[in-house]
């Protein structure tokens, strides 16, 4: 799935070009599979909370993204999973500099985005796109589909026939040519998301961040959109970051999955390995909440229930950010020392002081968290 952008008809030739910016110009043509396309280091987004009307004071911060490191290789799909409100959307927007990061660096195809001025940044945007969580909100209600799809072409000086390109894009995402003259509110949710996807691929980007691309859609349509995204990846050689709050959605599309909790990654692993053996207590709890189709296995296995409420990102617990709910919490270290995301085994990163002991079974979940008769109250919002 890594053969990159082989001359899509009408593909915008690099015109005014990203060449004005520092570093090697990101290219659509010559892709080396496996080379890192996106590299994020220590990324933080803290939203100040202000009080007072005349003289506003900052009384605290929403630590929506609180130090994220990750790397995405060209042509692969990185799945990002976490509960609602853990900062997935904010992370995605900060990577694309749609929200200004508070700290950290994002290097895209060798270019440090934080160092780009407005105009070079704007030009770089043709290589990185986003598909939004709420398709209706992501489309200007006063803008026809034609206009929405022409906009990126115009912004980057697309040289060819724009209305031909619009029809081509509609065809690629499976919408009739007649959709061009219509307005967002005239479409169904799935069709709107197709429009959003068409806009994202209009400039033949390298990277697409798909922020919960199907969570706002009917279950019956979700698979169609996921399939469309997969097809596009193959055809256009796209690299994806796919965000989801549902492990089931990212499971079969992702090569690597990062699990996020309260603004930080707690575990990262190749998709299959994560499912075969989750290492972080949070991931273990998430997995145990997924029903297993085999009734016998379902009968025998243990549910790990999370207790307590999800802490607010304004008051992130000190020490391990998961310690207030962790069924494996130990009297030492957990509440004091913040665990780094460390490579425990090749390819397996985990942010837990006791991951080895938990993996070998030396440390077991607290009895109260394992009651098999307990209902799912308190289980994380993950299907």
């Amino acid at each position: 799935m890594t053969s990159n952008g082989t001359a899509e008809p009408g593909e915008p030739a690099p015109p005014d070009g990203a060449a004005g910016s520092a570093g090697p110009a990101p290219s659509n043509g010559a892709a080396v599979p496996g080379e890192p396309l996106l590299s994020v280091r220590g990324l933080k987004v803290h939203f100040p909370i202000r009080k007072g009307t005349l003289l506003q004071r900052v009384v605290g911060h929403v630590r929506a993204v609180d130090g994220v490191d990750l790397e995405v290789r060209r042509g692969m799909t990185y799945g990002l999973v976490g509960e609602s409100g853990c900062g997935k959307s904010t992370l995605g927007k900060a990577v694309l500099r749609l929200v200004e990061p508070t700290a950290g660096t994002v290097v895209f195809d060798g270019v440090n985005l934080a160092l780009q001025g407005p105009e070079p940044m704007r030009r770089l945007r043709r290589n990185m796109q986003m598909v939004f969580q709420d398709p209706l909100a992501s489309l200007d209600p006063r803008q026809s589909v034609e206009s929405a799809l022409t906009e990126p072409l115009r912004a980057h000086g697309f040289p060819g026939d724009r209305s031909k390109r619009v029809r081509e894009l509609l065809d690629i995402v499976g919408l009739p040519a007649g959709a061009a003259g219509r307005y967002p509110h005239e479409f169904s949710g799935g069709q709107r998301q197709r429009v959003g996807i068409a806009r994202a691929i209009a400039l033949n980007p390298d990277l697409i961040i798909a922020d919960e691309p199907v969570s706002a859609l009917d279950v019956s349509i979700q698979a169609q959109i996921v399939n469309l995204l997969e097809d596009l990846q193959e055809q256009l050689g796209l690299t994806y970051v796919v965000v989801a709050h549902d492990l089931a959605v990212v499971r079969h599309v992702s090569d690597v999955i990062g699990v996020m909790y309260l603004g930080a990654l707690v575990e990262e692993a190749p998709s299959d390995e994560l499912y075969a053996e989750p290492l972080h207590p949070y991931t273990i709890a998430l997995m145990s909440a997924i029903p297993i189709p085999d009734p016998e296995v379902e009968e025998r296995r243990r549910r790990i229930l999370l207790t307590g409420d999800l802490p607010s990102p304004v008051d992130v617990p000190p020490g391990c950010r998961f310690h207030t709910r962790c069924p494996f919490r130990q009297p030492t270290r957990c509440a004091e020392e913040s665990p780094d995301l460390r490579e425990m085994r090749p390819g397996r990163k985990v942010a837990c002081h006791w991951a080895e002991e938990i993996a070998t079974g030396t440390i077991r979940a607290a009895a109260s968290a394992q009651d098999p008769t307990a209902t799912e109250v308190g289980a994380p919002a993950v299907q």
């Binding site: 945007r125 909100a137 489309l139 200007d140 906009e151 912004a155 307005y183």
Partner: protein, 298 residues
């Protein structure tokens, strides 16, 4: 044609932008219809006053003494005023003046407010800070009092009245537009436009501004009502044109005060006219607000 037929003849329209949706809702709202009729009536009377008025508004057409002011008759529908002028003709011409004052002060206020609001909403940061402090200060003075102060400062005359009313409305429009623009700037479709590389100026003028105008239009309609009442209030307090022959509803009210016992109807006619005109714009504005509310969007 039976009712069922009527219903099948009017098919559910599809297509078109949000404007058509809103129009459909507006047409079905009886309050909007009443408001529109009042507004149309008011505007028509104002425009046609020179042809509709049976007498000149500024010349005595009958004999009056302070103790005997003739009331309504077949010849003079609303009677005569304290100077023997035809009250009906004066009320008609008054509509014209109210419309002029209302529209001019609305437009001045709208332009001023939108410029400030656009600056604050487009640039944010310290520009926003300065504009908003200014707006806060202006809003902290009660409206009519503020207008009185400005009108008094500028000296008498209708220009002063219109400017005063406009200035009072500037911060209202500025704050409204700025708030809308800031809210829109956070929205996903603006981020989406930024993500595909649309230039800042086009985002602000092509996406943020058009999507922020709806409440400004609604507020503009409501402001016409307020402007008419404010103009009358200022005139009542003696802040109006230097020319006493100009029939202005507020001044007509003020001038008849002394004759309230002998000719109470002289206060009723201009008073009712003010109320009806203001009511028309208020009803229309409120139903516009409802029709354009995104909550009702499909």
């Amino acid at each position: 044609m039976s009712l069922a037929q009527v219903e099948t003849v009017a098919p559910e329209e599809t297509g078109g932008g949000l404007g058509r949706d809103a129009w459909r809702r507006l047409r079905r709202n009886p309050v909007a219809i009443v408001g529109a009729i009042l507004v149309i009536m008011f505007v028509a009377l104002a425009l046609l006053a020179p042809w509709l008025a049976p007498y000149p508004p500024d010349k005595p057409v009958g004999q009056v003494t302070p103790t005997s002011i003739p009331g309504p008759s077949a010849e003079h529908w609303f009677g005569l005023d304290d100077l023997g002028r035809d009250e009906f003709s004066r009320v008609l011409w008054g509509a014209r003046w109210s419309l002029v004052i209302g529209v001019v002060s609305l437009l001045l206020g709208l332009v001023g407010g939108m410029v400030l609001g656009l600056l604050a909403g487009a640039f944010g940061g310290w520009v926003d800070g300065v504009v908003m402090r200014l707006v806060d200060i202006m809003l902290s003075v009660p409206g009519l009092l503020f207008a009185i102060g400005i009108a008094a400062m500028l000296g008498s005359g209708l220009d002063a009245v219109m400017i005063a009313i406009a200035v009072v409305n500037v911060p209202i429009f500025a704050r409204l537009l700025r708030g809308q623009m800031l809210a829109q700037r956070q929205s996903d479709y603006v981020l989406a436009a930024k993500a595909v590389g649309v230039r800042r100026r086009r985002i602000v003028l092509g996406h943020v501004l058009p999507n922020s105008l709806t409440p400004v239009i609604v507020q503009g309609t409501l402001t016409l009502a307020v402007a008419i009442v404010d103009a009358a209030g200022l005139a009542f307090l003696g802040l109006s044109s230097n020319d006493p022959s100009i029939p202005e509803w507020g001044r007509m009210l003020a001038d008849t005060q002394r004759y309230l016992s002998s000719a109470p109807l002289l206060a009723v006619f201009p008073g009712l006219a003010i109320i009806i005109a203001a009511l028309g714009f208020t009803l229309l504005g409120e139903s516009l607000r409802e029709a354009l509310d995104p909550k009702y969007r499909r």
